[in-house]
Subunit: 380 residues, 4 copies
């Protein structure tokens, strides 16, 4: 059987997933056969061009037309369009992968998780960093008890693309469309890794900050009317209604102390997602910009060992290249798609699913609430 | 004129300062002449031995006998003995250097700062990391505006000497004697660097945690009576009444976001005091375990530049060795003593003084209060 | 027009190039259309399986049948089969890409280069590391004079897959099949980078060493007769007739001092190809295990700047992902195929071609001759 | 008994050894008592000033007057004055420490070693890097067999203080006074470490290079007559008669492959002495600019472990500070002086002695001879 995949969204994430689907046959021959069936978008010209490049059979401008026609629906749109199409697909019994964060508010996320529960089909929240070989390897070390009892989790995700106050406004700066800023976009990944590697967040204290309150609108984002006006030299700006950076303190289950941080103002850091964990028997460190490496302090050793996680018996590696031939960021999507599509095919459980996405959303909401109230907040 | 220095305490800090005093003539010939005049302690035998090794002329078992006899009084005892001798010395008009944190509670710190104010003589809180050449260089970069407007300060101080639950109890585990744990011992340094490099803390949200509630007492710490008992095989333990680790979020003056953390449970880290700062034009990173290096992102560059801060025109370096001949931890004490003694000699202002120590103490107290109340607390 | 590609070899390199060809349409839409037309090998069953997985239309067991049928012939076999099929293809007017080193001896390489010259079609020697974005970026820096006059080139390529004396014999241990060992397999890459980045080798002093003289034969490599014998418990071994490691000193054109080294006995190094260059105005460092990074000392700076070469205007990067989303080893093959196929399509010059391969072969031969004679040898 | 030490030379090395002597009582209380007895130099005013600062009792302008008056004679002058005073001291039965390299030519070094042999007193060639705790720790690992059989030694020593062609001429650029350039000044250290850690050099192939043939003379170096002339605007230069950089390939005893390199033209490197060793069971890496760290690949581990060699049971560390409180470059001199003076006091053997210095000198001479002859040369 060939799984027909329908994909909503054809920009950055659309390309990342299309590439992943295209690479499965050569590298994961035991994956189910997949057809890039239909690409969904609103701008017909751009859509046709994208479908051609990304290898889709057909296109559609209304997601409602496709959600019951495909064997898997990938919702890769902005956060505020995660809920409705995903719920519709689930109601049609179609497995759904949604980009992260699961939704732009907690209520939508809850509805999505309920729809997943009712549908009883596999769902995925696309926390792709769970599929970095080095982090899978880390997960195995922790599960095998090699770090002992965990005391500390420290995670931060640093970018700098908004440090220039003239960097243009985009949907990622809008609470309505994105829910939150660095918190939901970057922090969601870190919180998911905390849950994946260590455990659930029980209570949090959050701090959110917007450094630049409004940003210029690029022509392409300007409503037609205002562009027609034309006679004014005034620069058009739009309000930034989300955080540029957040930090959080947390207590995880089992009494683990945790700190979180993300920023779009961390000058010099492009995509620096870093994790550190300290346990009673060992520690580990990871950074996404060196994603083939894991630094591990093993019991009995004196310092961190820099492990290049590219050996044949490392997670997913035998599918690729010999030791020392490093993988890139995009490979995480191949692994993620492999696991999700295999679960659809086999009926096996898949994680991170919508429940995992909801758990992260609860933490995001608690951090925002904590920031507003100025006090610690329990995560449901 | 030769300055007579009296020193209370002859263990770790006593050795560090005695060494600093001994090295001034060869490397800082413009420093005032100094005599290691009197060493103060309670155990006469150990004291005599230490005085001999550390090069002191005489010894005394009561600090009250020396504070008005010397030109500078160094209080290097445990935190709970910082206040009385220091205040007595100041009342005698003697300049005082106190080890950090300034006191074990805010009230004592306030009395010390008041005594300093009344005395009108130089005082020092021994935040020696201000005297790392790389951090002085960093300070100059920031003051020259090379990082632009500061957005983020991130500081953490990681050690692991308590990760073993069988590590013995010491005065550092006692609230009565130390005031706090990782917070006051390590966090005080980080908070001082935040103030030195960026600015005052305005409000904080703190989190403190004790992982191990009681620890075995080593024989030398056991009260005589219980040792005499002897018949029991029971291990004697004492309660840990301070934090093993803390974290904090803060807002610094000018709206800078800051995060702080310290732990004595960070397996694999011995003395890892690390600072990161992001500004609108650049960033910097520092770690005490590589204290000769500063990583700087300069405006117009793309990545961090690893600067070995050992050139002749780097702070303090011309006193030592040619470029690339690295300095160690102890050199910070030489620089600190040079500056403090020069200030005593010249009457110039010296920082960090007791007011700086008090400012840090206010932040420590606010973090503790925030942790207890579960909400943000303003720093006075 | 669609270019039909015929590929000899379906193991490691076959997979690397097939993947590269498969990825062009999505990421390099301006590349010529390509058909993975025919896969060539001797073992029909394995071949059919590989062709299916790697996406080839047909298979062939004799390269002679395909070299004039295709628009590009890729010779990815062991070194000793580089010459004949490549020459036959060139004589048929077919552009050829050969894996490196160009041949297993200088005479064969010369015949290949002559055939290329006569054919007047594009050729490629597959020195894929020229296509690492960070090394292209380095090349641009050097050409723009940012390092000034070059004084030093230092290159080394460290692996460890033969450090175990029980690691099995393979064709790579045979002078007859491979020409040389670490020298030709790894050193060829380093010498090519020296030529690409700095200039030709003028004279060399070489040192070759075989640490383990014979190695066990795996069953699959054992001639049938000896396997039939069976009654003997004796382990079968085969002689190692190539170097396990080499080093070389060289003088490059313009008086640049150079050192080279490679080993298959460098315990702890999997695929560590590292380059360092020092010039009068700057320096740079690169390591293949962190291939997204380049360390650059710029004129006026004090230390190396760690540049993540993933910005949109870095070489090839705009075809892939946003800044900080790192590429892997395999991407070098995509860039290499893109350039070579584009040159076939456009008739533009392509490098590294067979002449470049020959120049490297001359250096390899000179190093071997120098090692045998114990003296410096000029490179023709 | 107090050992009287006489020191010839009061610049860089004079200060380094005077500091070491001054620090012994506080940190190495079991060292013999030492008096900085007499400082020897030619310029009386500068000498008196230096003696005052460095803590010497007296001064002398003729070394011949002091060599039989002291219990240890330190010869810290330029290389060409190592031989005569050292031999005179030995003939007077006085133990001698000579800075490295032992002499500026092989014949002088041989005479010095013969004098040492005849005298039967301890001698030292001041290869201070043997006394870096991390390298002592490395030595112990190797002796304990933790790296297995050694295959590779790689050493390089990079500086950049001559990269500017206008950097002034000094005695270090004169063959007559220094013997060689980077080779003897820097390479001597690396060769000594190869011998210390792995074994003797058996044969070498060397390459020496002078990038800048003449350099400007600073006023202080200009002979009086030419300064008087004055009427000419011509810049005075002097010929550089030593190498600016060298490289060497070598075979060490037991068949170990080795490569060596040093340069004063390695832009961006101040004092970067780096060592790498690969054995059948493990590997290690060291760099002087991070001298508290050793990177070790242990048997059974996958990557290098970054060890901070500052634990109480690491070599020499218990004399200094708690774990993580890093040492600097100068501490190597304290350890060296401690060991040498203890050997004088106890009559125990001391290494590296003049025989070790001679062994290094033979290697230096062989490298120079190899460079001149263009062929491999056996090291006697």
């Amino acid at each position: 059987m060939t799984l027909k995949v329908g994909v909503l969204g054809y920009r950055f994430m659309g390309k990342a997933h299309a590439n992943a689907l295209a690479r499965l046959p050569m590298f994961f021959p035991d994956a189910p056969d997949v057809e890039r069936h239909v690409l969904v978008g609103r701008d017909e010209a751009a859509l046709a061009d994208a479908a051609d490049r990304l290898g889709f059979e057909t296109t559609a401008t209304d997601w409602a037309d496709v959600v019951d026609e495909v064997d898997a629906f990938y919702n890769l749109g902005p956060n505020h369009v995660h809920a409705e199409p995903s719920i519709a697909a689930l109601e049609a019994g179609t497995p759904v992968l949604s980009e992260k964060p699961l939704a732009n508010d907690l209520e939508s996320a809850e509805r999505m998780a309920e729809a997943a529960e009712s549908a009883g089909v596999p769902t995925a929240t696309a926390f792709n960093y769970r599929f970095v070989p080095a982090l899978r390897y880390a997960k195995n070390l922790i599960e095998d008890g090699e770090l002992g009892e965990i005391h500390h989790f420290r995670g931060r995700y640093l970018q700098d693309w908004l440090v220039d106050p003239e960097a243009p406004w985009s949907w990622r700066n809008s609470e309505e469309m994105a829910g939150s800023g660095a918190l939901g976009d970057l922090g969601a990944h870190t919180i998911d890794l905390a849950r994946f590697l260590v455990g659930d967040l029980e209570r949090v204290s959050g701090h959110c900050r917007t450094f630049v309150d409004e940003r210029p609108v690029e022509d392409s984002e300007t409503p037609e009317k205002s562009r027609e006006g034309g006679e004014t030299a005034e620069r058009e700006t739009r309000e930034v209604t989300v955080d540029d950076a957040y930090s959080a303190q947390a207590e995880l289950e089992g009494g683990v102390m945790a700190t979180f941080e993300a920023s779009r103002f961390a000058n010099g850091h492009k995509n620096d997602h870093a994790i550190e964990i300290h346990g009673s028997e060992g520690s580990l460190k990871f950074s996404l910009e060196r994603l083939n490496e894991l630094e591990v302090l093993r019991d009995g050793n004196r310092g961190y060992e820099t492990i290049l996680v590219t050996d044949a018996d490392d997670p997913y590696v035998e599918h690729w290249w010999p030791p020392g031939h490093v993988l890139g960021w995009e490979h995480t999507f191949v692994h993620e798609n492999y696991e999700f599509l295999s679960a659809i095919d086999s009926g096996d459980e898949y994680h991170p699913d919508f429940d995992d996405g909801l758990a992260v959303q609860r933490a995001l909401a608690a951090i925002q609430e904590s920031d507003e109230r100025g006090e610690w907040v329990a995560v449901e």
